[in-house]
Amino acid sequence: MSSEAKEKEEVKAKVLKPGVGVDVGTANIVVTRQYEDGSYEVKHHRNMLFKVEDAEDMDMLLANALSVKANGKTFVVGQDALSLVNALGGGELIRPMKDGLINPSVGEAEELLFHILQAVVGKPIKEGEKLRFSVPANPIDRPEENNFFHEHVLQEFFKSLGFESKGVNEAAAIVYSEGISMEDPEQGTFPLTGVGISWGAGMANAAAVLKGKPVAIISNTRCGDYIDQQVAKVTGKQTSQIIKIKERQLNLETVNESDRTLKALSIFYDEVLNRIGKGLIKAFVESGTKFDGPIVIMNAGGTSMPKGFTVRLKNVLDKLEMPFEVKEVSISKTPFYAVSRGACLAAQ
């Protein structure tokens, strides 16, 4: 390639395509944009804060920490909040979201969440740039709750930043991200067809998608946080310690039975996987849809990141009566970014 052509390619690589995808998760916020050369820019941030009682006293500890001031209070934000709580050995993390939705028990939840979102998303690169943000399905374990308020508040917030915003089902976004398809023996390839499951902190979301359209969507609020809290209860450890162990030591294929914490994590993982498997089967059957070819079940999300996750899920699904043939249980190569990447493609 000539130096001029190379230069042109480099310039092209730096140009962002309009369209931004945002995964607004209970534990993490992930923002994805795509460059003209096809590569992606990803930003992410822990969706949590730690209130500092006396900012002056904490100045030295706050050195290099990201913090935000709201209503006269100082909050350490994101990963630094978690690191500080771990370093201090105690303290309460504030979560602007709970179980996949804006946390009603935190008075300033909306404001704090918006501060974080504004910092991570930034401004539109053109007027009315499309933004698609993840929205969970209504939880099957809490029929009294629905996502309308959550979706409306976020849509208005992104609109106020200058985006043309709209929600996209977060599990369907995984199908978009991975571009999975179904081979029908008679009718050929069905693009964007299969099952996506997003294993987040506050919720697990599952969607059966046919040619890009979600035909059965469910969520369950028992997922990552639930596992952490239950394991903390039975082991007497702090939730922040459980998170650390889960992220660094857990292998769901070969669980160390002599380790009480790892064993408890394994037990509660089984419970969560079973609930989603059964819920998806019920919703799919009720939708009246049929898949005539074998289906890929694509997984993503922080709770799916322990080693051996797909093997464990396959074992659980094998014991259930699936209404379609499962070709493969797989995990996104980028499980942490798949939802926002799918939303980014939907925004273009």
């Binding site: 006396d54 050195a63 105690g90 303290g91």
Partner: protein
């Protein structure tokens, strides 16, 4: 608004370094078990409150803060707060285009 705090005061201004009373206040305000144990350990070994040993008090607080700052720094280096960092994700332009086209037709 978001902001990044500057360098630790103890690093460049001895006169502004933490004194013991401030550290004690910090323990009370944060209810921090680990910090308390670190401070207690250091108190037992190096703290002398007056006169010629006043410098030790200054060093003591600096050590403490540096330890905690280091602990937080190690976490940061793991890259979990790389806001704005470009992360390489395998992409397939042609497949992405097909996805975008199909989704546009549904939008």
């Amino acid at each position: 608004m978001f902001y990044e705090n500057g360098k630790p005061k103890v690093a460049d201004a001895k006169g502004e370094s933490f004194n013991l009373s401030e550290v004690d206040k910090l323990i009370k305000s944060s209810n921090a078990e680990l910090l308390a144990s670190i401070l207690q350990q250091l108190k037992n070994t190096s703290y002398s409150p007056s006169g010629a040993n006043a410098r030790e008090e200054e060093d003591f607080s600096k050590d403490t803060i540096e330890q905690l700052a280091k602990m937080m720094g190690e976490k940061r280096e793991e890259g979990s707060q790389d806001i704005g960092k470009k992360i390489e994700i395998e992409s397939n332009l042609e497949k992405d285009k097909e996805t975008v086209d199909l989704l546009r037709s549904l939008d």
